[in-house]
């Protein structure tokens, strides 16, 4: 996907993964909202660590990733609701918005990632 195409996409999720606790609420909320099969995910949490970087420092973080099944909850958003993963995220590390506004916030938020899923193409 070219940088240009990305810039044209309108909505996405900013995920402040520094504080993602890996609780699976986003995954379960999505599965139940859309009746997904057991091996299907609209959002899936990946894990890095625990890994020891130095004698005193451990690294252990989670990263929720959006799959091609993600619609950014278009039906919910049309009703005025938040995507269900954002609504239920226990650590409240997910933000739904336009790519432009989220990109601004991304600059101020270390250990975060901006997702523009396929549904936005």
């Amino acid at each position: 996907m070219s940088a240009n195409a990305l810039a044209n996409q309108k909505y996405g999720l900013l995920i402040h993964y520094d504080f993602c606790t890996g609780c699976h609420s986003c995954e379960m909320a999505c599965k139940k909202e859309y009746g997904l099969e057991q091996d299907q995910f609209g959002i899936k949490v990946a894990q890095y660590g625990p890994v020891q970087n130095s004698e005193k420092k451990w690294e252990f973080f989670y990263m929720p990733m959006l799959t091609d099944l993600c619609t950014l909850c278009a039906p919910r958003v049309a009703e005025g609701k938040l995507p269900t993963c954002v609504h239920h995220c226990q650590a409240k590390v997910m933000q739904y918005g336009t790519i432009d506004e989220l990109a601004e916030q991304l600059k101020l938020t270390p250990k975060s990632a901006l997702f523009a899923p396929k549904c936005n193409a």
Partner: protein, 783 residues
């Protein structure tokens, strides 16, 4: 930069009890068990044609602020599981263990109960009936009342949780030292939460003996701590395992399981030696500081380092940070309780909170009571229903004097077990046999009972058993004569006051003939002792509680409409005369101060100050055993998927976590020729069970951490769902507890692990228990 998530659309998420949204009637209420956990989150049930079709977190509820965990998000699978109990059922005594049930009506069930209870009362005494509950579920203020008012027995108890090793050890020592409960302050007392002007973000949160984001123990939602971390709180994490919190901690103290008292005393040693304490607070509000200074004098960081397997400098650095960070919130969990030195460990931890002056201050440790002082939590509030003579017959009251301090009206679990085993000959009061168990919301042989095979024998020995639950459990299959179907959260009226604010639980739907726990107990009391019943409906009962046992000036209908009501909160209550019965400043203790030294303990043959006691089975106390079992075993670490033994029957949850897991350091595995995912036998001198290896490189190489609560609902009910195969409580023991009567070694035993093979798996633990008469070893007895 604090990412707070988006703002919810409050035109859609209303501040009222119910509204219409498209085809759905939306109900705003509180979800407590069943299915279970320690929390009471605000939820929205979306109902169509009398059936819940979906659930969402309630953004208007300041407890969970719109979020939900995966278990609530999957609640429909629980509520509409085909295997849920639908009708009352009975089974012939000789068919115990067999899947031979006969559907009966509620009236028939109550007739049977009434007849049995009256027969036992007449021939053996009221005290011969015991009532048992499980942790944190929405039965644990109701069952004590039902036991006292209905069965009129003094013996309500936790279901074979050895040493009452959940919260009672902490709460009893808190009662003696401070007269109160203490809870870490994450703004949960204030309706505006993290935006409240009064609240201060803790500079340090000391988390000791729990992983709150998974366990959510003790009426506390763990993710509140994450909000504080996002706002700058740093952690001191005391935990043998690396997990998400310990990896992020400023100071992670990886202690050897069961050595918490030594570590806490060493931290006090540093604070006192380096004069880092809050001497103004100590002078004004504590008693016995010099005795504490003396008690911890010899527990230097160097000595604790050897005991706890933590580098000396780490202890010093953490102690300095805990003492100088303001405010410092102490958050302590069940691991404190699940070791024989539960009481002295609790003493040392309360001393840390007190000598740093971090008591009832914003961002510190709050003096916490139930909202509107409603007398639900402390079960002695219901004791008016039994006679003084009956109280004297409560098992364990005489053997363990701390039980008489007024904080717990529970019979002692290990004394109950021995009473069953000896037909009452071992009672610490008048001799009487246990003739009946009323078991509600508990599944001891799958979950909390130490030495599960021994407890299996005991529960089957009792002549008549009633089990109230939501699904068929191994416990029910093993021993129930009557099985009563319990309603789930949205199928019952109830109330939630543990701790704050006050919340309504509202009946919205029905499920076949399942009845709410409250309704069942109310029916029981109306049958057996109608003069004690506040009415026939749960609403009558709740209104009686609100009117006569609380400071609230509203009734259930008001609460139901509001859903959640916040009383006015006060910090520094001890300064304002808001704690003591006489209205004077101070704490509810004999000295009016936090008693660092507890004279009452000394008068009752216990140590007035903390001390260190080595775990009873350990590398140092039992070196011969350690040669054969060279790994320290800690059990019961929580996961996001499961609340104790629940949720194993739900495919969507199980897919995330299909098998029982034992965490082991990869280097230990390499030495033992084991790979991640291997099934291994975990074994000690008592017994064994099998779980799968999960690597944890952050565990000490000498420590393994095994899960609890495993049974296999998909397997044969008549094999008790293979409840013993992966049951870590095959290895734990009953009747080896702290001198105070509190604390059993769920967290600090020894074991070895080796790979499961076809040859060494011929006789499974379940087969050993059900077909071969159990495991042979010498059972411990209370000393």
């Amino acid at each position: 930069m604090v990412v707070k998530g988006n703002t919810y659309n409050l035109e859609l998420y209303k501040d009222m009890y119910t509204w219409q949204e498209g085809d759905y009637q939306v109900f705003r209420t509180t979800q407590w068990s069943a299915p279970g956990c320690h929390n009471g989150c605000g939820v929205l049930f979306y109902v169509k044609d009398g059936k819940v079709e979906k659930i969402e977190g309630d953004p208007q509820n300041g407890w969970n602020c719109g979020t939900l965990c995966m278990r609530c998000l999957d609640i429909l699978e629980s509520m509409y599981d085909e295997n849920r109990l639908k009708y009352p059922m009975k089974r012939a005594y000789e068919d115990r263990g067999k899947n031979k049930w006969e559907r009966i009506t509620w009236d028939e069930a109550y007739d049977i109960i009434e007849e049995k209870v009256r027969y036992i009362q007449k021939n053996y005494g009221h005290e011969s009936i015991i009532a048992e509950i499980g942790t944190g579920r929405n039965v644990w203020w109701q069952v004590p009342w039902g036991c006292f008012a209905g069965l009129q027995s003094p013996n309500q108890t936790g279901a074979f949780l050895s040493g009452d090793s959940c919260y009672s050890p902490r709460s009893s020592i808190l009662a003696l030292m401070s007269g109160e409960y203490l809870t870490s302050d994450m703004s949960q007392m204030l309706p505006d939460r993290y935006e409240s002007k009064e609240w201060v973000v803790p500079e340090c949160i000391t988390i000791w003996g729990c992983n709150p984001i998974m366990s959510n123990g003790d009426g506390y939602l763990g993710h509140w701590i994450v909000e504080a971390m996002k706002r700058g709180s740093e952690l001191v994490m005391v935990d043998p395992r690396i997990n998400w919190l310990s990896a992020k901690a400023k100071h992670w103290l990886r202690l050897r399981p069961g050595t918490d008292a030594a570590l806490a005393m060493a931290i006090l040693n540093v604070m006192i030696k380096e004069k880092l304490c809050d001497y103004d607070f100590i002078e004004k509000w504590t008693y016995g500081f010099d005795d504490i200074a003396k008690a911890v004098e010899d527990m230097t960081p160097a000595r604790a380092s050897e005991i706890c397997w933590i580098p000396e400098q780490d202890i010093i650095d953490a102690a300095r940070f805990m003492a100088t960070a303001k405010p410092m919130a102490m958050h302590w969990g069940v691991a404190i309780d699940q070791q024989p030195s539960a009481t002295p460990t609790g003493q040392a931890l309360i001393c840390i909170a007190a000598v740093t002056g971090q008591i009832d201050n914003p961002g510190g440790s709050l003096v916490t009571r139930s909202a509107y002082n409603i007398s639900l939590f402390s079960q002695e509030g219901f004791e008016d229903n039994i006679t003084e003579e009956q109280k004297e017959k409560r098992l364990g009251m005489h053997k363990y004097p701390m039980r008489g301090t007024g904080i717990s009206a529970m019979a002692h679990t290990d004394v109950v077990l021995e009473s069953i085993e000896t037909d009452g000959a071992s009672n610490d009061c008048e001799q009487y046999p246990i003739m009946m168990q009323w078991m509600q919301g508990c599944n001891p042989i799958a979950n909390m009972a130490a030495e599960a095979p021994r407890v299996y024998e005991a529960i089957c020995k009792v002549p008549f058993n009633v089990v109230v639950d939501v699904v068929m459990t191994p416990t029910a299959m093993a021993c129930a004569d009557l099985l009563l179907p319990a309603a789930m959260g949205s199928e019952r009226d109830s109330i939630r006051a543990w701790w704050w604010p006050l919340r309504a639980i509202t009946k919205i739907t029905d499920y076949y003939e399942a009845h709410g726990d409250e309704q069942i107990l109310l029916d029981l009391v109306n049958r057996l002792n109608p003069s004690a019943a506040p009415g026939e409906e749960v609403k009558d009962w709740v209104n009686d509680l609100l009117a006569n046992h609380s400071e609230a000036d509203f009734d259930f209908d008001y609460l139901k409409e509001k859903v959640i009501v916040w009383p006015e909160w006060h910090y520094y209550k001890h300064e304002k005369g808001l704690l003591r019965w006489d209205g004077e400043p101070g704490f509810n203790t004999p000295t009016g101060k936090i008693e660092l030294r507890v004279d009452w303990l000394e008068a009752n043959g216990l140590s007035p100050v903390p001390f260190y006691e080595e775990p009873h089975e350990s590398p140092y106390s039992t070196p011969e055993l350690y040669k054969e079992y060279p790994l320290v075993l800690t059990t019961g670490a929580r996961s996001y998927e499961y609340f104790h033994s629940e949720h194993r029957n739900l495919p969507s949850i199980r897919a995330f976590h299909p098998d029982p897991l034992v965490e082991v350091n990869p280097e230990t595995c390499k030495e033992l020729g084991l790979e991640e995912g291997d099934w291994v036998w975990i074994e000690n001198q008592r017994s064994r069970c099998r779980q799968r290896i999960k690597f944890n490189p952050g565990l000490d190489k000498r420590v393994v951490a095994a899960e609890h609560g495993w049974w296999f609902p998909e397997s044969d009910p008549e094999r008790l769902f293979n409840v013993f195969d992966s049951n870590i409580n095959n290895l734990t023991t009953q009747c080896d507890i702290g001198k105070s009567g509190y604390g059993a070694a769920y967290k600090c035993l020894l074991c070895k692990i080796y790979k499961c093979t076809e040859e060494n798996s011929v006789i499974t633990p379940t087969a050993q228990v059900l077909d071969k008469g159990g495991f042979k070893y010498e059972r411990k007895r209370l000393s």
